[in-house]
Symmetry: C2
Subunit: 456 residues, 2 copies
């Protein structure tokens, strides 16, 4: 079988694959620090050269910030777009690293061999799993398995300011039938996953204003309204005893998670106690009539991310503050319109204002949730392919956070994404001593070969 | 009549009284700044010399900080202790002063002549009203009207750290039948006042702790408890719809304000709308079944003076914070035990903690309320004397804030205080361009002469 030949080639070529990855990891492509701009550029050029060697027409395209690497290759078959990013997080605090973050090395650990270095997992190691799968395919077959476009971003760790304009300006060139994104994790060390739903995010800052200035709590206390009290009352009202958000209309239009998905989540046997135990907690605090995984993946939230008011320094100051503020964010799910939620929240606040208080709102970002259409047979084909590579069957999972690129692909290119990645929860991305398991890298390459074989 | 002779003497001597006050005000006795310690000492020495000229045995007694000026004089009659302070507030921001704060001068204003300079009101001008009354008395009668002890503090503006130890160490020497304190204000420009009740103050900081560290609101939101939400719920629960504090036992033991005092407050015709209007408010926010003056003077409060939690800087950070804190203070009234309130508040918090949250308490100061026994005939005699000097009858009033010296006199010397002062609410004490009306100074001196005549 030809797939077997590709998989063998991957196994045989692993030492060379690792050498290439090490060279790539050694480039300190920190996108957020302007001092590293030449290194970011060097990483883009490294990719361009490597991809040209595989027969892609590749180039580093200019943007207002760091370049986009765009490569095209292959003919016929199902057109696919693969996305990854070649920039990395800063390395501070440097003194917590046990070695130079840009002098990567393979280390033996009790959990097996790992590749240690900044970007080993996020996202250089992950994106190279796909490139290496392509390389093995070309080596065996002399050509790519299907018409492929690769898109590698250099600004993912600094907010992706150029992504939407670039997608819009190059929509016809980039559009494919499906996007493949390699920037997520395994469900657990033995269970691969395809992320099929992502929560959206809406940020809203609210300031409650009372008196014109801070007042003396002795001279005015008892007679003047305290904005902290008003704000606290509003926040306390946001949830009912069952953990539900009480903003009118908040849950309107949210579809129930399909029964087969819920059943599959049930089989994952998620250990909420262990998950919470890792951070010193024990008890799920969301909607009491939802399972822990639903609370995390399929249900919207209202959270206060920050609050401030009055005097919060050392000691005590008997001030009755003129204002108090909170930063509140909502994780959104499929069916929720961010703007409608914003409007409903403002109304919720305004109807709770006592005399002498006003609310001032400051809007932050609004991104809707994404849910992929898993009725596309490619999803089930990919899930089967992954299941053949890993000890346990692959799962469709949700993500509690947002992965903006998936939503951007849907909105600008009208294209669903298949999010498949091989990271582990303890890979310390964004932290010192980032690593990527050698098995993640090796099985990741083999996984993409299987998936390309199944869906191309 | 001999009182008339004293009052005439006061009128005739006013230019010299002002000269003395100007010399005293010119000494920058800022107690909180160590650089000014020699000036604080100079102000104490100035007082000692002036008082010795009146026949007092006066000296500056050492403390751990700035000296206490103690003077004794007079014989027979009712022994009285007079208290004032000769230190002043810092003058920052200096650029907002329209003249050198320590080059005092008399200015014409639309509201009449004022003495402008740091300490003009707080408290050099006020304490000199009593000294000048004594001077006139001595000039007319050749002796003081009664046995007098004067106590002038040099640390009032920096927290009075030496006061309680000094009172305790010198209790027998300082104890009298009544203390007179001149560090308060008129009720309004035409109505003098004797402050007969002072609210106490209890400070309590509470921190609600949840997870071991800040969490990502995408990864954990919906499943992990948010300490800001818990803290907000506790704060929101502190008051009911009628503005009452809901801590069990909070109002236990509080006596009702005597009917005659309430009736007198009623006659003051307090304009809550104007009082609140000055700071941009309009609506009393305390207990709905209490008058505004009761809310300010006779009823306890629970106020949040500060709150913080999570990310409160610029922009947004989708963090689910590990903890949230609030600084809460209670203004206490007669009958409330600060320690019992502290215990009840802690219990109130602890019974509202969900799983995975703990409360950590940090205690701040606890001072009980003071209420003077106005059945002592000296109070009514002083009120009548004040009423003869000013356009409108004098009032017994309460103070929403605390004046620690009054409570300290009660606790260490077992002595009530008669708090009488002649400041106005717009005297800008603690602020740039502090002033004291010439009429406050002149009528203040005359007021003390009348009071000494009535009660000595």
């Amino acid at each position: 079988m030809s797939l077997d030949a590709v998989l063998s080639r991957i196994d045989d070529d692993l030492p060379q694959s690792l050498e290439r990855l090490m060279a790539f990891l050694a480039i300190p492509s920190i996108s957020t620090d302007p001092a590293y701009a030449p290194e970011v550029r060097r990483a883009a050029d490294w990719l361009v050269e490597d991809l040209r060697g595989l027969g892609f027409t590749a180039e580093a395209r200019p943007t207002q910030g760091h370049p986009m690497v765009v490569a095209h290759g292959g003919e016929g078959g199902r057109p696919l777009l693969f996305y990854g990013h070649y920039d990395v997080q800063p390395v501070d605090p440097l003194d917590l690293w046990e070695r130079d973050p840009f002098d990567p090395q393979i280390e033996d650990t009790p959990e097996g061999q790992v590749i240690r270095g900044r970007g080993a997992c996020d996202d250089k190691g992950q994106l190279m799993t796909f490139v290496e799968a392509c390389r093995a395919w070309v080596a065996v077959h002399g050509a790519l398995p299907t018409r492929l476009t690769l898109l590698f971003e250099g600004e993912e760790e600094s907010g992706s300011p150029s992504m939407v304009p670039f997608l819009e300006a190059n929509a016809d060139e980039l559009r494919a039938e499906l996007a493949l994104i390699c920037d997520t994790s395994l469900y657990d060390t033995e269970t691969p996953a395809i992320t099929t739903s992502l929560r959206g995010l809406l940020g809203q800052e609210v300031t409650i204003r009372g008196a014109e200035r801070d007042l003396h709590s002795g001279s005015f206390g008892g007679l003047a309204m305290n904005p902290i009290r008003v704000l606290s009352g509003i926040i306390a009202d946001l949830h009912d005893q069952a953990g539900r958000v009480t903003i009118p209309g908040f849950y309107d239009g949210i579809p129930e998670t399909p029964a087969e998905v819920l059943a599959q989540w049930e089989r994952l046997d998620f250990d909420a106690t262990a998950f919470l135990g890792d951070v010193g907690l024990s008890t799920p605090a969301g909607e009491t009539d939802r399972t822990p995984l639903e609370q995390l993946w399929a249900r919207p939230t209202a959270e206060v991310n920050g609050i401030r008011g009055g005097y919060a320094g050392a000691g005590f100051k008997t001030v009755l503050p003129a204002e108090a503020s909170a930063k509140i964010s909502f994780r959104l799910v499929d069916g929720q319109d961010p703007q409608a939620i914003r409007t409903a929240f403002r109304h919720f606040v305004e109807t709770r204002l006592p005399p002498d208080c006003e609310a001032v709102f400051h809007d932050h970002g609004a991104a809707p949730a994404s849910r992929m259409d898993i009725s596309d047979p490619a999803f089930e084909a990919a899930r089967q392919a992954l299941s053949q590579e890993w000890p346990k069957p692959a799962a469709y999972i949700g993500a509690g956070g947002s992965i903006p690129i998936a939503g951007q692909m849907q909105q600008t290119l009208g294209m669903d994404s298949m999010l498949i990645g091989f990271g582990r929860s303890d890979d310390q991305i964004h932290s010192p001593n980032e690593k990527y398991h050698l098995s993640s890298f090796h099985r990741g390459i083999r996984s993409w070969a299987r998936i390309l074989d199944a869906i191309a």
